[in-house]
């Protein structure tokens, strides 16, 4: 496990992003916490000797999150050395943030990576996906690794009038009377964009943005704008594997959040859920190589596909 110069910091964590999960900050363990609540405290210093049992790697090959196990506890470590400790016997998550991590980044790590992993651990199907919706055209999701262009595409669609549903992590609800999958929109969505993406979408006044820094684009959804649950009309896969059903299913499996990839029952449950999703949802592969000049083309093609379907 990497050793960092750890300084505990209470972050300004947005509350109630996920329906059914609430975040709270406490200074010490609170026995009144209910399952699903999140406790932030900095009392656990992870041991440095272990090696991770699993890692998330982005499209550039950089490790973005390392998974460690200490006894029954999961310790998740970001590339900026923020530690998140999940203890199955407790409803709390311990957060030990690096002193150099901005609050907004910590907020994103929690809402886009750690909480989705917790939700997945509770039996939910969560995909690495950004999602947008339009009253007239329906709800679509872009699925792919970090760096594949999910947030860029979703932001672009929002600039064109779609409403944001989720960025980075998307909660899927499989069971529906008509057998179609649904998604649960987040109460607040903010897209995280690299400087060059931000510039390509939001224009020339942003010339001083750094290509290697992520910027936050917050888009608020008022409660009456988006229903609590939305029919998912189409999934677009952003990787370059084959276009056959088998490759699409494997891409979806590789894009789902699984807290413990070594736990057979968890992996089997996820396999069944993703298989059901692949059967029930329209899944297409999208050729988008993060070339901003193609955004408008991609947008037009997707739009005409959606209009055709209607």
């Amino acid at each position: 496990m990497p050793q960092g110069n750890l300084t505990f910091k209470v972050s300004e964590i947005d509350t109630g992003i996920y329906p059914g999960l609430s975040l709270m900050e406490c200074s010490s363990a609170d026995s009144n916490l209910k399952p699903g609540q999140v406790l932030c405290l900095g009392t656990i210093v992870p041991a440095p000797e272990d090696s991770p049992f699993h890692c998330w790697v982005d499209s550039q090959g950089t490790v973005t999150l390392s998974f460690f196990k200490q006894g029954e506890k999961f310790v998740l470590v970001s590339n900026n050395l923020d530690y998140f400790v999940l203890d199955p016997s407790s409803p709390a998550i311990a957060v030990i943030a690096s002193s150099t991590t901005p609050s907004v980044t910590l907020d994103h790590l929690l809402s886009d990576q750690i909480l989705p992993l917790v939700l997945s651990g509770l039996g939910n199907l969560i995909l690495h996906a950004s999602c947008v919706t339009s009253k007239d055209l329906g709800t679509i999701a872009f699925v792919g690794k970090s760096g594949a262009g999910k947030s860029t595409l979703a932001s672009y669609f929002c600039k064109k009038g779609f409403r944001p549903v989720a960025d980075d992590a998307l909660q899927i609800c499989l069971s529906d009377a008509d057998g179609k999958p649904n998604v649960k929109p987040l109460k607040r969505v903010s897209f995280r964009l690299w400087g060059d993406s931000y510039q390509a979408i939001y224009g020339a006044n942003t010339a001083d943005l750094d290509c290697k820094t992520k910027y936050d684009v917050r888009v608020a959804n008022s409660n009456d704008e988006i229903p609590k649950i939305l029919r998912l009309d189409r999934l677009y896969l952003l990787d370059s594997s084959g276009n056959d059903t088998r490759s699409k299913l494997i891409s979806l499996l590789e894009s789902s959040f699984v807290l413990d990839v070594r736990d057979s029952s968890t992996v089997q449950r996820n396999f069944l859920q993703v298989t059901k999703l692949a059967q029930d949802a329209a899944v297409e592969r999208l050729c988008y190589v993060r070339d901003f000049s193609e955004l408008d083309d991609v947008y037009s093609k997707i739009l005409s596909g959606l209009e055709e379907k209607r």
Binding site: D244, R246, L253, R262, S264, Q268, T275, Q279
Partner: protein, 96 residues
């Protein structure tokens, strides 16, 4: 080494999803190491036929009858494929 006279069956350490539409297509999960395998066309068909324990020579006959293929070559290819399934923990040789 698997031979044509042996009986083989799917391992119990797997689960799979048959997503066949026009042609056989299966995704198999090895539940011991959580690896996924995509099997298409003839490979997918072999997997479907292995729903029951099957003698390798009978499996070859079945494939030869369904696909217009040369029997000796088909046997070589199927033995090679079965060996791959076995080495990935997806296939068991049934003892006599």
């Amino acid at each position: 080494m698997i031979s044509r006279d042996q009986v083989v069956r799917r391992s119990t350490d797997q689960m799979f999803s048959d997503i066949s539409q026009d042609t056989p297509e299966v995704v198999v999960l090895n539940t011991k190491n959580n690896q996924y395998f995509g099997l298409e066309d003839v490979a997918g068909r072999v997997w479907q036929l292995l729903a029951q324990p099957l003698k390798v020579s009978d499996l070859v006959l079945k494939i030869v009858s369904e696909y217009e293929v040369d029997s000796p070559q088909c046997e070589v290819d199927i033995l090679d494929f079965l060996a791959q399934l076995e080495s990935n923990g997806l296939l068991i040789i049934v003892p006599n």
